[in-house]
Subunit: 206 residues, 4 copies
């Protein structure tokens, strides 16, 4: 009748992870800097200053979408987890480390997009997702290696998820390299991946 200890632990790790995702996604807004024009600034001046914040908006929208998709992904994967152990907690922690880090490259991108340093900023941004992708792979590797998955998860499902991760990693690496050539190309490739993933999960349930 009572919840098993294993279920309760799994639940607590999920709740903690959700908390970290929720905070990281909400901290993104701190990257918008209020224009400090002084009390004498006219309406049109403020309007013009707000418009120069478009790089912040782009970075905010991108990172919000990325963290949301990661959360939905994590949410789906956790449905397959039967119990947790210490190695899994550290793998999950490595993944959360990268999730909490995302607001920083986002702020760097917001500062330099549209300026001379934008290629480095975009490469730093895309490169962060290379690391994110690697920690998700570590997560999945640990869950499999330590036999933490539900009995109903088939080898075919496991292989399909490995395929998706390898594909994601390859795209992020390509986006990072592309950024050094043209910032918008690298960032566009990341966005295309996120749209593709969203469409995929969208279709899966239609």
């Amino acid at each position: 009748m009572t919840e098993s200890a294993g279920e309760r632990d799994t639940y607590r790790v999920e709740a903690f992870s959700d908390g970290v995702f929720a905070i990281a996604i909400t901290l993104l807004v701190l990257e918008f800097k209020v224009p400090r024009l002084g009390p004498a600034a006219s309406g049109p001046e403020l309007w013009a200053a707000l418009q120069t914040l478009w790089p912040s908006l782009v970075a905010f929208l991108g990172s919000f979408a990325a963290i949301l998709i990661m959360w939905i992904n994590h949410h789906g994967l956790f449905r397959m987890v039967r119990r947790v152990d210490a190695p899994f907690l550290y793998a999950n922690g490595a993944m959360l480390l990268m999730v909490t880090f995302v607001p920083f490259p986002t702020a760097v991108l917001a500062e330099y997009l549209g300026h001379a340093g934008e290629r480095v900023a975009a490469a730093f941004y895309c490169g962060t997702f290379v690391a994110v992708s690697l920690t998700f792979q570590l997560w999945w590797y640990t869950a499999n290696r330590r036999r933490l998955l539900q009995a109903h998860v088939t080898p075919a499902a496991v292989a399909r998820i490995w395929g998706a991760y390898r594909f994601g990693l390859a795209v992020y690496v390509a986006a990072t390299l592309l950024s050094f050539w043209k910032a918008v190309a690298g960032l566009g490739l990341c966005v295309a991946l996120w749209v593709y993933w969203a469409a995929l999960s969208y279709r899966a349930e239609s």
Copy 2:
């Protein structure tokens, strides 16, 4: 005996959304800037400096009330949801995107209210709620379209909620336009809407 997977998923989305609401509402306080008058500032000087923060107080109270009402609203709507799917998660994500964005126009309003740029700041603030309102409509549209509601939700109840959203959207658009004429008029209209909504939910349970 055990909770169904659908209920558990619904619960997790609700908990994640609550986390985002709770963080966004608590981050509003960061918009208050401590007056930096130096160590020699006298008590009356500090007192005068604190009084000049009234625009921050107005913006804080307004946005706190707005997010609280949105949370209560979200809370009520979620009672009608039976299960969640991927499209709904993205619609819910779009709504959370706008909720996490609210602290930024709040900070802009706090900076410019009472100064020359206040009309643009107020229009930006009210315009944010136009976008918030649209994402709530997307949320409601998705929940209906994908048949995610409980069986006991009647068509009449669904229509009543659509009516409330259309009314809210119209008021926010009017408030945004009014702000360009007089900041206090646009902001006052938003506040009137919030008071009306609070009174409505208040009366519904009296």
Copy 3:
């Protein structure tokens, strides 16, 4: 067998409130400012600079204790609540508004304690708790007025809590007034109240 809707709602309000308390208490640390002495600063210079942060430490410890006690208090009161309704949600929201506001007077106190403006900063700090106390009274008033309490809560218990709130309010008003005369006297009175309350709840369970 299933949890009632009333219990689930009560639980969700409690979880949301806990989130706000947890965030407000964790944001207090942002009030510590890293000394910016430049790369050439020696160890003893950094050490001296860290020591000048004692007002931040005092403010941090005080507000942390205050929010912790409020949370424990809220925790105890919620055990008496059977169900929630809309008016109660707004009363609870008013209380959360004041809880999220606490980091700001804390930062003001940290900036001015030990300087000429400290009496105003201390009065502002203590005065904030006058408002906090009033919102807790609104909370308790609403819970009683709308008959939301568990059947086992006796009139004697209700009266005892009213007494505690009236006493707390009187002490906070006195502390605010005392602060205008001597900052340390007002702050000391607040601390004395918190120690008294902690000791009371401590003894109640020994």
Copy 4:
């Protein structure tokens, strides 16, 4: 059939603590400061500026690992707790106080590592963990003293945990002293402790 009041209380304290851990660990990223080089900065200049942030990265990784291990530790200890009372809530609060404080010494370390003041910054950082360790001991002392543990927790298990705490405290004190001699020695000792603890919990479940 229903959850006991004791279990529900324990759960709520755990959830509140998890919230504080999740927020503190996510706030660490705010310590990274976006290089403000102006719009004319070239890519290589931005790249060079990002590389000078290595002390921030070291401090971020260290504190993230430390808070994660504390959370996993807290998670394991809470499994042994049967019920909570007021003294325990204050002991748990003291521990959370130290957890929320960690981002500040982390930011100080990030600012001064690699510069003249690094030894004081490292000692301040390690010294914070001395205090953290003491609050964990207070937590464990209170849980034992007030007989809050599950019946199945053996005296041998209790003694083993005491031993681990005493060892941790001794290492942190040594690290603090070592820091005054060489920053990297003190910090390295802390990292060695965290790796040892992680390896220990890792092995326990292999």
